[in-house]
């Protein structure tokens, strides 16, 4: 309980405000216009002046989103801290962690995490001829291999789920519980893009994208932006809104045992085959936050493809290896269930703001602002991904 990390950063930083742009299924605005909308909404939410912001952390750069330099110029910021990750949704957690570390270490006093994404204007970049990631030495990070016709992130999730089905007997109909549950959440969220109920029949009848993934196992292709303002816990307490503390965190995993879209041990690509169980190190985030898994009132994850939701549950030990497909049935991950997940509808049904829409939802839940989809008495919520990064938030 006395890790260096625990002593240094627990509860030192907080989210003072959040904002989103309008979400859309069509290209209506430039990524910059969306970013500005979200930024101004977050400032208004926090009751902060633009000049309070001296740092920026960008997750999705040009051409899908905006780069740190242009953003700073456009909204008139004078930055003393700038951070920009590789253009991938996997960096939501790391990007937020960079912001918190910058604030905790005094490199900045308030960092705006800004993510604008215009997927509708850049369709060719995702799995199409313009997607050059698969040509990397050797292969893309979702196991893309264009030479053999494997060209899209969806295929990576499909490779994992096919093997998972073979190992554990999981079925597509079981997997459907994930998008169906998140669609129910979206119906309670006026800003969610998907507003029609989803049935098991509709899921099973929907076209294949990359088999075994159906259309409804794949996220919304949308445009939108979100902004999250990170500052010191002390400053946040003086803000317009109740602060949401960043209580604990752990970094993204990488190495030969890791495949982004599958648990260690699954045996995809370079992974060895073994039975994964989470170690103490895999669960550092709880220790740092001073909470246990049982304290988590809501779990939020990067749900670009529905199998990722199963994998995160097993990665963090909410259920055992191979059990998640059965575990998510009967409303367990829905509002009112044992572990509500992605209560805004997530990437599958609200919008694909790279996952930042779920960070915004966590903040609104912990501030008690979610109306009919409010998790009663929410005090501790967690962001976690299938690739092992996580943050625990508390009010």
């Amino acid at each position: 309980m006395t890790d260096a990390a625990t002593r240094t950063i627990r509860d030192r930083t907080a989210i003072a405000g959040v904002g989103v742009s309008r979400f859309s299924l069509r290209a209506e605005s430039s990524p910059m216009e969306l970013a500005v909308q979200a930024f101004k909404a977050a400032l208004a939410d926090a009751g902060l002046d633009r000049d309070a912001v001296d740092g920026v952390a960008i997750n999705i750069g040009w051409p899908l989103g905006v780069d740190y330099d242009r953003f700073a110029e456009v909204v008139g910021l004078r930055l003393r801290f700038a951070d920009q990750t590789w253009t991938h949704g996997r960096f939501v957690g790391p990007s937020l962690q960079h912001a918190a570390m910058a604030v905790a270490s005094g490199l900045a006093t308030c960092v705006a995490c800004v993510c604008a994404v215009s997927f509708t204007q850049q369709r060719g970049l995702l799995g199409g001829p313009g997607d050059f990631e698969g040509t990397r030495e050797e292969g893309g990070t979702h196991e893309e291999n264009p030479v053999y016709g494997l060209t899209a992130p969806a295929a990576g999730a499909a490779l994992s789920f096919r093997r998972y089905m073979a190992l554990y007997g999981a079925t597509s109909a079981q997997l459907a519980a994930v998008p169906i549950t998140f669609r129910r959440h979206a119906l309670l969220n006026p800003q969610a893009l998907m507003q029609k109920p989803l049935t098991l029949e509709a899921h099973q009848r929907s076209r294949w994208i990359v088999e075994p993934l159906h259309l409804y196992d794949c996220c919304v292709v949308s445009d939108g932006a979100a902004c999250v303002l990170v500052t010191t816990a002390e400053r946040a307490r003086d803000g317009a809104r109740p602060p949401v503390l960043l209580a604990g965190m752990q970094g993204m995993r990488a190495g030969r045992d890791e495949f982004l879209f599958g648990l260690p041990g699954l045996g995809i690509g370079k992974q060895r085959r073994f039975r994964y169980t989470p170690t103490d190190d895999e669960l550092l985030v709880y220790r740092m936050a001073g909470v246990t898994r049982q304290d988590v009132d809501g779990l939020y994850t990067y749900d670009a493809f529905s199998p990722l939701v199963l994998f995160v549950l097993e990665r963090f030990g909410f259920c055992g290896l191979g059990e998640a497909a059965a575990w998510v049935q009967d409303g367990r991950i829905g509002l009112g269930g044992a572990l509500p997940m992605n209560t805004s509808g997530g990437l599958l049904s609200e919008a694909h703001v790279s996952g930042w829409n779920s960070i915004v939802e966590i903040v609104r839940q912990l501030r008690g602002e979610c109306g009919t989809r409010q998790v009663e008495g929410a005090r501790v919520m967690q962001w976690a991904t299938a690739w092992g990064d996580s943050l625990v938030f508390r009010r």
Partner: protein
């Protein structure tokens, strides 16, 4: 100029010996000369012992399918005519896995654990791709 319009491997200093061997219809992987382990994809050092000493060693070309998918969405125009087509991962007897296609197995007959062996497909006068067929 051939009519093969699909993406071709990008040849790099690390992988050119692999592709040259494949062009001769030989499947060769790097084998560490310190610890004896095979590795793929190609890399300058052994990820286990960091040794730079390796030899391009012929492998049996036999393995099993560890996972597969069927692509239905036409992400790449050059593959559109083949939809729905499958892509497999094959774990070789020596350990490493290759992504490829099967040449003689319909989509509905593919399964995890299917024994396969390598075949060589000369897709252009300069480029050959390893693919796999049901083990004989």
């Amino acid at each position: 100029m051939s009519g093969y319009g699909k993406p071709l491997p990008r040849i790099t200093p690390d992988n050119q010996d692999f592709w040259e061997a494949v062009r001769r219809h030989e499947l060769r992987l790097q084998r560490c000369q310190e610890c004896g382990r095979f590795r793929y994809p190609p890399s300058p050092v052994c990820p286990d012992c960091l040794s730079e000493r390796f030899a391009w060693t012929q492998v049996t070309g036999r393995g099993t399918v560890t996972t597969w998918v069927v692509v239905h969405k036409p992400y790449f125009p050059s593959f559109a005519d083949e939809i729905p087509y499958h892509v497999v991962q094959v774990e070789l007897e020596e350990g490493p896995r290759l992504t490829a296609n099967l040449v003689d197995v319909p989509n509905e007959k593919i399964r995890v654990g299917l024994p396969v062996e390598v075949v060589f497909d000369d897709v252009t006068p300069e480029v050959t791709l390893p693919r796999f067929r049901r083990a004989r």
